[in-house]
C-alpha cells in the first residue's frame, strides 16, 4: 500500500463518496485501477472502532454479476462456489463472496485486486461466448453500485433504524442475503462477519451513495461509530 501517495483524483476509478471520505481524513491506496480508502486513524484506534461500530467504503472493490436461467450451472462449471439456496452467499477463495440473489442471479464481491483479476478473466470467458446459457446476461457491477461495510457490536442496531427486515445476528445468519429497502432505497444486504465481528455489506445504486452514507453516518452517531479503512479489515481478516 502506498500510504499518502495515492490521490483519488489521479486514479481512473474512485468511490462515489471519495470527497466525504477525504473530509473524514482518509488516506488512499490502490485496488487495481481504483483508489480505495485504506485508513483514517491509527491501526489500534480503527481496531477498536471495528469492535464497537465501524463503517468502511467498499465501493471501489471489484464486483461482477450474472443473471438468467442456466447461470448457476455455468458458473459451477467454471469452478465458482455456488450457494445452494436463494438469498444466501458463500465465500469463494478465488472470486470473493458469491451471493445468490433470487434463483438465477449471482453477484461476486471481490475483496482484493487478485479476486478482481479472477473476475475479469471469468467475464472474458463469458464474453468469448462458449457454452453460455441462452437466456443469461453478464452484469458489470463494479461501477454501478456503491458498497458499504458496517461492522461491530452495534451494527445491527444501526440497521434496525433504517430497515424493516430483522437483521439481528440471531435471526439473520452469517452469509444470509436480503434484497430490501434501507432508508427507503432499494438495497442488497449480505451478512459478512470479519474475524468474529458482526458485519454487513450494503449495496445500493451508485446514485444513492452520498445519501446513504449520510443516513448511515447519522444513524451511527448515537453509538459513536466511525470510519475504518480497508487495511484494518484486511488485518482483521488475516
Amino acid at each position: 500500500m502506498n500510504q499518502n501517495t495515492v490521490t483519488p483524483e489521479a486514479q481512473p476509478y474512485r468511490s462515489f463518496v471519495y470527497r466525504q471520505l477525504q473530509a473524514a481524513g482518509a488516506h488512499f491506496s490502490h485496488c487495481r485501477q481504483a483508489a480505495i480508502a485504506a485508513g483514517y486513524a491509527g491501526a489500534d484506534i480503527e481496531q477498536a472502532r471495528l469492535q464497537r461500530l465501524a463503517l468502511a467504503d467498499l465501493s471501489p472493490l471489484p464486483r461482477l454479476g450474472f443473471k438468467g436461467v442456466g447461470v448457476p450451472a455455468w458458473l459451477q462449471g467454471q469452478g465458482v462456489n455456488m450457494p445452494e439456496t436463494a438469498n444466501t452467499a458463500v465465500a469463494d477463495p478465488q472470486y470473493g463472496l458469491v451471493a445468490r440473489l433470487g434463483y438465477n442471479e449471482l453477484l461476486l464481491l471481490g475483496r482484493d485486486a487478485a479476486q478482481g483479476d479472477a473476475q475479469e478473466r471469468l467475464a472474458a470467458t463469458w464474453q468469448a461466448g462458449a457454452d453460455i446459457p441462452a437466456q443469461g446476461n453478464l452484469l458489470l457491477r463494479a461501477h454501478s453500485h456503491a458498497c458499504f461495510g458496517l461492522y461491530g457490536a452495534f451494527a445491527d442496531q444501526v440497521l434496525a433504524k433504517l430497515c424493516a427486515v430483522d437483521l439481528r445476528p440471531r435471526t439473520f445468519a452469517q452469509h444470509a442475503a436480503a434484497l430490501t429497502s434501507v432508508a427507503r432505497v432499494g438495497a442488497i444486504i449480505i451478512r459478512d462477519d470479519v474475524a468474529g465481528v458482526t458485519g454487513y455489506q450494503l449495496l445500493v445504486d451508485g446514485s444513492y451513495a452520498v445519501y446513504l452514507l449520510d443516513c448511515l453516518s447519522d444513524a451511527m452517531t448515537e453509538f459513536d461509530g466511525d470510519f475504518i479503512g480497508l487495511d484494518t479489515l484486511a488485518a482483521a481478516a488475516g
Binding site: 436463494a86 438469498n87 440473489l101 433470487g102 434463483y103 424493516a164 427486515v165 436480503a178 434484497l179 430490501t180 429497502s181 432499494g186 438495497a187
Partner: protein, 96 residues
Amino acid sequence: MKIMPCPLNGPRNIAEFVCGGEVKAMPHPSQAGDAEWADYLFLEDNTLGFVTEWWLHVASGYWFIAERHTASNEIIRTYPASELFSQRVEFQENNE
C-alpha cells in the same frame, strides 16, 4: 405496517411491492383484434372478492402471484409464477 409474504424473499413491508394487475389469459398476439388486445392490456374486472393478481417485489425485481380479497385486503396465498406458467411465451415477428 402491512406485510406481504413474498414467495422468494419472505414477509416484507408492503411498501416494497407494486401490484401488476389481474392475472388473465393472453389473447393470441397476432389474431386478437384491437379491442380484445386493449381489453387485455388496460381493462380490469374490478371484482369485489378474492382475485388473483401479479405483484412485484421491487427490491429484487421478482414477479409473483398473490390471491387477495379486494375489500378486506386479506392475502390468502402468494406463490411463484411458475405454478401457473410453465413455459416461456415465444412471440413471432409480425410481418404485416
